[in-house]
Symmetry: C2
Subunit: 379 residues, 2 copies
């Protein structure tokens, strides 16, 4: 591998290969050697993958900044005169689907951190018209969200999604990461029959404030995550989320307090507090929000402590459904990542294999056990 | 200074002077040079001070571990058969008072981190019978809590304390840090007329569980902090706190969210959750606790955001009362620590000087201003 050459192709902001490649991990996936960037570095996104054999690059998905107030958050983020497109942000798992090789290669599904997930790859090939798309657009990446109650990663319920589905929210150049414009991407997805996130319209930045406010009210009432705003060319993006999403994430984090509690809690409180301050809530409304916040934090944690006390398993519960071999490959994939999986049931339903399992939360289980046994804390 | 000699006197767990002294800061206090350990290291407590001129040492106050459940927390922490003394833990400012010099030297008040606070020194000399005590016990340290609504550090209200008072909760050897036994210390303090924290009794460790449970219920109802349990010899200590204390601390932390929010929040939630789980609260009681938790987090933060929006000062508000020169020295002391102080009023009352001031919380003010102006967050 000519490492200097890859730095140029990635437009990295360093020309010292060692500076870049010290953050790169070698992994084996789909029978090939992948070099994966494990953290955003030198202008290149986390999860960027180099496939040595085919000399191809799959660019990582950029992290999306967040505004805490809509006004002046939106008008100060975008250029005056630009047209801002407003789309729903879904609570699922961000998966890039791309063909990092020659025309005979099959498409692969990459997680945000650059792993090839064999199960998600299988589901994408099954549920999305990938052959048609990649035959016409071999150098593109489909940026999708895997949503629904039955996925190995997230469990958020969406009306009309019984198990799991994909939504395509971006189409980018596989190597440069350059996005299609919002208009081109939406029509391209419609053309190939890819389901897309809800579109709330486009407008001048300052006029978008009201549109987003209304959209957020609707999404919040439906327990949905929020919105992403994009400049017309798709290059600039920013997100904003609902109260119910903040509280849902806290409930999740505090059901596994020693895995996620500390990392999640402050940022979600900050989001909620700025939202409350901007909307000038009445005292009753603020009390209601504060109480919901407190309940989303304390109840799941107390419940997890009780589970540990009662010897119940502690961790994320998931159900997956699909091809038996793909499900076996998923568990091998988890095994390679050193996850501890507790399989709760494994059955056939309508010709599909359905497995329920728990990703065991060892830190929470062990810390809680320690404190319940009388262990002390230095603070 | 023979640094090796000090390592031996401090019984440090290293005999490499550089390992120890790299954490030591040189400061000037009361006209002398103090060498202060800025973090607990090598078995020596944070805030330990060496006064070079008098070749004396003032040992730091040890950090007190915390249990999250009373049962088996108490019986597993103490030796079966030991007698555990239960005393109130006060929400004030931990100050050591000692005479680190020859007999002609005056007593000084040291903060937890080893600063000599000129104002607290003045108040201690004024309010405590230090001359009598140190004439008889020149090598002891009085470990005190400065409590009340008018102090430069904390503002917790205690019934019967109109401005500020001291409570002596420990008496230790100034150099070795060895404590008096609880019984000896309580009678010594009574003899010299030092006010002490409330005593809830002594008992065998497993019997202490019920005593502490009752004490915590009473203290919680009165909005007080909690208890410290000590072995009879005073060597082992452990603390446990009330729900109202957890919520008060969160309210304080989230009134200055970008100073304290992130550091405070997770630990207080953990304390509250284990307390709720141990007491097997009814669903109504748990809901009430969760709601109070949420209100203690969100309301102060929203209120601080509103203050920043309205151009109000943001920070800890304090009032100090006493000798005019001591108050000037306090503000010089804050200035040396690079604190930004906003004096709100400065008046005479009954022959005393009374100053109200705000310790300006620059991080909160500036971060909140940034987000209100539309700034983004990368998460």
């Amino acid at each position: 591998m000519d490492r200097k050459d890859y730095l140029e192709r990635l437009e990295a902001t360093t020309d010292e290969p060692d500076d870049f490649f010290e953050h790169v991990e070698q992994r084996s996936a789909a029978g090939r050697t992948h070099y994966v960037l494990t953290a955003a570095r030198h202008g290149v996104e986390r999860g960027t993958v180099i496939v040595e054999e085919s000399e191809s690059v799959v660019r990582g998905y950029p992290s999306v900044p967040r505004i805490l107030v809509l006004d002046p958050g939106i008008p100060s983020f975008f250029e005056a005169g630009d047209t801002v497109a407003i789309e729903e942000k879904l609570d699922g798992f961000n998966v890039r689907v791309a063909v990092p090789g020659d025309e005979e290669s099959d498409p692969l599904a990459f997680t945000r951190s650059g792993y090839v997930c064999p199960y998600t790859t299988d589901r994408a090939r099954d549920l999305l018209p990938l052959e048609d798309f990649f035959a016409d657009h071999p150098t593109k990446t489909l940026c999708t969200e895997l949503i629904g109650p039955e996925t190995p990663y997230t469990t958020h319920d969406y009306e009309g999604v019984d198990s799991h589905e994909f939504r395509v929210f971006d189409v980018r150049d596989r190597e440069s990461g350059d996005p299609l414009s919002v208009a081109d991407r939406r029509s391209l997805c419609a053309e190939y029959g890819f389901a897309q996130p809800r579109f709330f319209g486009r407008s001048e930045p300052s006029a978008a404030v009201e549109t987003v406010r209304d959209a957020i009210d609707d999404l919040d009432a439906a327990g949905r995550e929020g919105v992403v705003l994009k400049s017309a060319d798709g290059e600039s993006m920013v997100k904003y989320t609902t109260e119910s999403q903040h509280h849902d994430e806290l409930a999740y984090a505090f059901s596994l307090p020693f895995e996620h509690g500390r990392d999640f809690v402050f940022s979600r409180i900050v989001r909620d507090a700025f939202q409350a301050a901007e909307s000038d809530e009445t005292d009753d409304r603020l009390r209601e929000r504060a109480r919901a916040l407190g309940e989303s934090i304390l109840r799941p944690m107390v419940s997890t402590i009780e589970d540990v006390r009662d010897g119940e398993p502690v961790g994320e519960r998931h159900t997956v459904r699909g091809d038996p071999d793909a499900i076996d490959a998923l568990f091998e994939h988890f095994d390679e990542q050193s996850l501890t999986i507790d399989r709760r049931s494994d059955r056939r339903e309508d010709g599909e294999r359905v497995v329920e399992f728990v990703k065991v939360a060892e830190s929470s289980r062990d810390r809680i056990r320690y404190y319940l046994d009388g262990g002390t804390r230095d603070e």
